[in-house]
Symmetry: D2
Subunit: 379 residues, 4 copies
Amino acid sequence: MRAGWREVVPGEALRGLHGAESAVVLTPDHCSEVSLVVRGADAAVTAAGVFADIAQGSGSDRPWFLSRQEPGARRRARRRSGALENRHDSRTDTRREAVMKDLKLTGTRPDHGRSVVEIAGVRVGEGLVVIAGPCSVENEEQTVRTAVAVKEAGAAMLRGGAFKPRTSPYAFQGLGLKGLKILEKARRETGLPIVTEVIDTRDVSWVGEYADVLQIGARNMQNFSLLREAGKSGRAVLLKRGMHSTLEEWLNCAEYILAEGNGQVLLCERGIRTFETYTRNTLDLSMIPAVHATSHLPILIDPSHGTGVLGMVEPMSLAAVAAGADGLEIEVHIDPQRAMSDKEQQLDPPAFARLMDRLRRLRAFMDGLDGDEGAGGKA
Amino acid sequence: MRAGWREVVPGEALRGLHGAESAVVLTPDHCSEVSLVVRGADAAVTAAGVFADIAQGSGSDRPWFLSRQEPGARRRARRRSGALENRHDSRTDTRREAVMKDLKLTGTRPDHGRSVVEIAGVRVGEGLVVIAGPCSVENEEQTVRTAVAVKEAGAAMLRGGAFKPRTSPYAFQGLGLKGLKILEKARRETGLPIVTEVIDTRDVSWVGEYADVLQIGARNMQNFSLLREAGKSGRAVLLKRGMHSTLEEWLNCAEYILAEGNGQVLLCERGIRTFETYTRNTLDLSMIPAVHATSHLPILIDPSHGTGVLGMVEPMSLAAVAAGADGLEIEVHIDPQRAMSDKEQQLDPPAFARLMDRLRRLRAFMDGLDGDEGAGGKA
Amino acid sequence: MRAGWREVVPGEALRGLHGAESAVVLTPDHCSEVSLVVRGADAAVTAAGVFADIAQGSGSDRPWFLSRQEPGARRRARRRSGALENRHDSRTDTRREAVMKDLKLTGTRPDHGRSVVEIAGVRVGEGLVVIAGPCSVENEEQTVRTAVAVKEAGAAMLRGGAFKPRTSPYAFQGLGLKGLKILEKARRETGLPIVTEVIDTRDVSWVGEYADVLQIGARNMQNFSLLREAGKSGRAVLLKRGMHSTLEEWLNCAEYILAEGNGQVLLCERGIRTFETYTRNTLDLSMIPAVHATSHLPILIDPSHGTGVLGMVEPMSLAAVAAGADGLEIEVHIDPQRAMSDKEQQLDPPAFARLMDRLRRLRAFMDGLDGDEGAGGKA
Amino acid sequence: MRAGWREVVPGEALRGLHGAESAVVLTPDHCSEVSLVVRGADAAVTAAGVFADIAQGSGSDRPWFLSRQEPGARRRARRRSGALENRHDSRTDTRREAVMKDLKLTGTRPDHGRSVVEIAGVRVGEGLVVIAGPCSVENEEQTVRTAVAVKEAGAAMLRGGAFKPRTSPYAFQGLGLKGLKILEKARRETGLPIVTEVIDTRDVSWVGEYADVLQIGARNMQNFSLLREAGKSGRAVLLKRGMHSTLEEWLNCAEYILAEGNGQVLLCERGIRTFETYTRNTLDLSMIPAVHATSHLPILIDPSHGTGVLGMVEPMSLAAVAAGADGLEIEVHIDPQRAMSDKEQQLDPPAFARLMDRLRRLRAFMDGLDGDEGAGGKA
C-alpha cells in the first residue's frame, strides 16, 4: 500500500493493514478524523468493521481518505520525546495549539505517529533520505554524470531544476521541457526518482508526468493555486518553507495540499531571511523538533540554500541529522566551477561522497543512541 | 601556562612553549602580530630569540602579549575543513574578508590554529565543555543542589545569574551580592568554576572576585564600556551574541575585549530575533562553522534561550555538537516548576543527566569520525 | 495617447508627441533604449526621423516600444531633489547602482522623468490617486454601497477582492467570478475603474476582462509565471511588495512585467515583516523616496495592511502624502463590524470621507510647498 | 513648575496647578496613581485637599510624585483620535493591553493627556521641536559654527556626540570631556540646550553637568544600569529605540527611568534592523501613532540614522511631521564631506535651513487641519 493518504469508500475492506498497526480515516469534508487501532490476525476485517460503522449515515459523494500509521515511526517518536514527556510546559502547549488550530490533516495525530511517504520505493520518514543533484539541469552530460555520481554515493533521489525562479527576468530560466526529458533519461540510467520544481499551475499535470516529486519553492510557498493543483496531481510534493514564513503558515500551506486528498507531502526547511548577511539565509534547524511537535509529516533540510556557503554544507548536514531530520536536499554538480547557477554552494562528487559516508555513520549512531535506551535505558 | 594571551616583555624567555608548537606575539599597540613557529628541543630559546628580534626598537611601555597556538586544535581544524580545503569559493572569501577587515586579534590566525581558553583547569576549545545551572540564583539550597546535580552529570562549569537584566523594572532583578556569595559556596562544594553575568561597568572588578567567567549578555553585547572593563578585569569573558547582531559586529565586540589584552574570550550564540514566534528566538547554528572560519575563539551554544522550548533543548544540543561546537550553556534547575524566571525552558537534573550522557557519546563518535580519516582516510 | 509603453514600428510617425517633450524608444530585445528629446512645432516629424534612424538594421519581428516622458512629472521630480541635487553621496550611489544593475525598463530614465500610468482616464503619477474599497467582495449590496460611498468621498478607483489568498484553506476564499460580476456592476454604477487581485496564471486573461487593474499580492510577488502573464495581458498591474522582499527584488519583479511590453505598472508598499508584533506589518515609507530614486514607476502606499491597526490608517496616510507618494490603497467597508475579513483595519465611509478631505488638503499644501520654490525660491 | 514628575510630600500645597488642569499623583511604591481634576480659582487648595486625602495612611518614607497634565496636549490628542474614537477595535485593544501590562508610569493616562517635557525653556510635546547638530563633536570650530547655523535655521536644541559607540574599537571614539567642553561653549554662544550621548554608568553624573539632555543610544537601550542611573540623574533623557526592540520593550526601558522618579523622558525612533539593505535601517514611522496610543511621553524621529541616505532625510522628516511626531533629531554638519563619521547622511546648513522652513510650514498647516475641525468640523 502506498503511504500517505488513500481513497476509500464506505464498506470497502481496508486492505494493507496489518496487526498491531493503527490507521486514521478522514471523513469526506476533512473536518473530522477517526483513529483505528488494528489488532490481531484479521486486522483488515476489524478495521473495515469500524470504518463501516463510522461511515454510517454519510451521504456525501466526496471520497474518504485512509492513512496508515507507521508503527516504527510511532515508536521512534515516543522514544525521542524521552525523559521530557511528562514535563508540563504550558507556554509551549499554547504555542503548539496556536500553530495547529486550523490544521485538520497536517497536525499531529492523536497517537503521535509520524507518516512515511513512499516515493517509487523510497520511504521518507523512516531512515535518512538524501536528495541530491544539480541546482539547474544544464545539459544531458552534466545531469546524467551527476546523477550517476550521487547514486553511487548513496543518494536516494535526484534533484534538478528545469524551471528556475530567478530574481531577474534576464537570468537563465531553465531548460523547461528539454530539462525534464534529460531528468527522465537520468532516471532511466540510475533508477533514482526525480525531484523537480514546478512554478506554474498550468504546468503541474504535465511536469507530473516526468517528476516523481513536485517541488514547490520558497517563493511560491503561498501560491495557493499552485498548492491546490499540486494536491490534485496525485504526485508527492516537496514543500519548501518560505523565507519569511512562520511555522504556522508553512503547515497551513501543506494543509492546502492534503485538503485535496494528497497526503504525500515532504516539508523542507531552506533558511529564512534575517539581518545576517554572512550566510545567504539563516538555516533554522529548530524547525526539525518544531515540525515533529506539530505535524506528522517528514521534515527535510536544505543546507545548500540554507547557508549558501560551501564549507557550511557539511557541518549543517551533520547537525540536521543529529537533530532528527528525516532527510536532506543537497546541491551537487559534476563540475561546480562551471555551473550556470549557485556556483559557489554546490558540492562536487568527491566531497558529496565523503559527506554521505559521514551522514550514514552518524545516522546509524543516532539510531543506536535511541535504541539503547529503548532496549532498557542502559545508557 | 594559561591559555589565551599572556603578558611578556622583550627579552623574556618565552616559557611554556614546546617543540613543534607555534605562538603569536602581539606588538604593544595591538596593530600587528608575528607568528612564531617553535621547533626543536630548545624551543623557548628559539622563540625568545625571534621575540627579542621583533621587539627591537619598541619604545612603548604598554605590554606585549603572547598566545600559544594549540597544536591539537590546529590539527583538528585542518581535518575538519577536509576535502573542501582546495575549493575556491570567492563569494565566501569576500564575505570573510568583510567580516574580518577590522579584526586584529579576534580573526583567524595565519596558521588557522584555534585558541584554547583555560579557566580554573577547564580547557575550552579542546573537548566539549558544558556549562549548566539555573537561570537565576534564588537561594542557597536551590543553587547548591543544582550545582551538585550538574557536576554529577558531567558539567564542567556552573552558571547562575545574580544580576538579571529584565524587560520590566518590576520583575525579579536577581539577588546581587547575596547571589554571588551563594555561587561561591556552590563552587566550594563542587569545585565547579562559576559563570555569572555582569551588567554594570562599576561591578566588573568586584564581581570578578567571585566569578571565574564574566558573562556579557545579549542586551549588553554592544555596551562598549562594559566590554572594555571586562577586558581589563583579567577574567575570562563569555560574550553572548546580540539578538540583532551580525557576525561582524559580534567579533568586533570580542575585539574590544582582546584589545585590552584579555584573550580569554568565549563566544556564545543564543538565538537571534526573527519573525518566527513559535520559538523564543531563532538559534543560528550556522554560527559554529562561521566562527570557525573567521575567528580563533571557541564558540558555545545556548539552546535554552536559543529556543525557549523545553523539548528543543536536547535536539538542538545534539545538533550543536554534530556541527562542531566547543561547548554548550544549558539552564538546569533542581525544581523547574518553582523557578523564578525562565520556568519553562530549564531542564531538571534527570533530563540533564540523560542529555549529558548522549552529548558525551555523540562527541566521542564525532571525534572518531574525524580521527578515522586523519589516520588514513579509511572512512 | 495612453501613458506607459506603446507599440511602434520602424518608420511609423510617432504620434502624440508634442514640442519640448522627451520620449524613450526601446529596441525589440529590450536591451537598449534611446532617449528622444522632441523640440519645435514638428515634433512628431523630428522624433520619427530619429526613430527611423535607430531602427535601421533591426531585423527582429518583435515590436518596439515607445514611452512618452511626462513633462510635469519631470519638472516635479527635479524640484523635489532640490537643494540636495549637487551633493555627492557615493555610498547611496553604490547602492542605487546595485539595485538597478539588472533593470533595463524599470530603473530611472536618463532624464529622471517619472512615468504617468493612465487607467480609464485616471492618471497615476501626477496628482494623488486613492484606491479604496472593501477587502473582499462579499455581496452586491455591500460592494455597490461601498463603491458609491468612496466615489463620493473622492476615491479614483475601487478595490475589492474576488480571489482571496488566505493562510488556511478553510478560510473564506472569495466569491470568484460572482465577485467579479459584482465589481462590474459597481463600476457601472459609479464609473470607478476596478482594481482586483489575480492569483492564478490561468485566470489572468478572463479576470482582465472585468478588471481595469490586476493586483498581484505580496505573497505572489515572486510568482514569476503570474508576472509574465500579467505583463502579456495588456492590463495595468498593481504590484505589491513582498513582505520580505528587498527593493531590488521588487523592482526586478516589475521588470518581469515591463519586459513583456507592459509599462503600466503601479508599485505598492504594504508593510514588511519584522520582529515587531504591535503592528501587523512594518509599513516602510522610506520606499517612497527609494522608488523615486531608482525607478520611473508610480509608488502607492497601503496603510491598511501596512499597519493592520484602524487608528494608524490616517496618520500613516498623511505621512505617505507628505513623503511624496503617488497614491494610496485603503480598505473601506460599508459596515466594518460585519466584514468577512480584515474586520479591524477597514474604515467606515464617514471616517474615509474625513480622511480624504485631509489628504486632499495636505496634497494641495505639499504642491504649493514645491511650487513656491519652483517659482523662484521665495520659500 | 517643571514638567514631568516632581517630588511632593503629603500635606504639601500642590503649587503650580492652575484651574481646569488635571494632575496625577503617584503613590510611593509607584503601584497606583490618582488623577486629580483641578477646577476653580483655588485650584491648588482643592488639589492639596485631595492629595492629603489619598496620602492618608501612607507610612512610607519614599517620595510621592506629581505630574501636571497639559490641557493643550490633552485637547490635541482628543482631536486627533477624531472620528475613530468610537470604533471598537478589539484586536488592537488586546495588543495595547499587552504592551502596557507592566507599565505603571509610562503608559497612557486615564485622561489620555500627553506630557510636556520642559528642557531649559524648550517645551517638548507641544509644538514641533527639532534637535540638530553633528554626529560627532570633532573640534570647536566645526561644532560652534554648526550650532550657530542650526540655531539660525530654527533648531531648538543642539545634538553632538562626545562619546561615540562604534562597532570597531579602533574607530574614532569621540573626544570625551574635551568634546563636552566644546558643547558647553556652543551652548554659551547660541543658548541652545545640549543633547549628548552617555554610554557608561560611571559617566552619567558628570556628563549631566554639561548636558541638558542625556541621550541613550539604540545599542544601550536595554543597558538597564545606565537607564537607572539616567533616571537618578534628574536630567532629561532621550531614549532611542533599540534596532531590534519591540514597542513593549522600549516603553519598559522608559519605565526604568520613570521608576527612578524622572519623568522627563523623550522617546526617539531611529530605524530598526530588517532584511532591507538599501536603507541603513528601516525607519518605523508607525511608532508615532503607536506611542501616542500607549504612552503619554513625547515621540521624536531620527531620519538621519533611520535611513542613512541623505536624500531621504527631507521626505521622511515631512512624513514624520504629518504623522504627528513631537520632534525630530537631524544630523547637520558645517562641512559634511569632511565629517569624521556618518559623512553621507549629514545635511549641510543650507539644506537644513530649507528643510526647517518646510517643516515649520507643514506643522502650521497640520495644526490648522486639526484646528478647523476642532472649531466645528467645517473642514
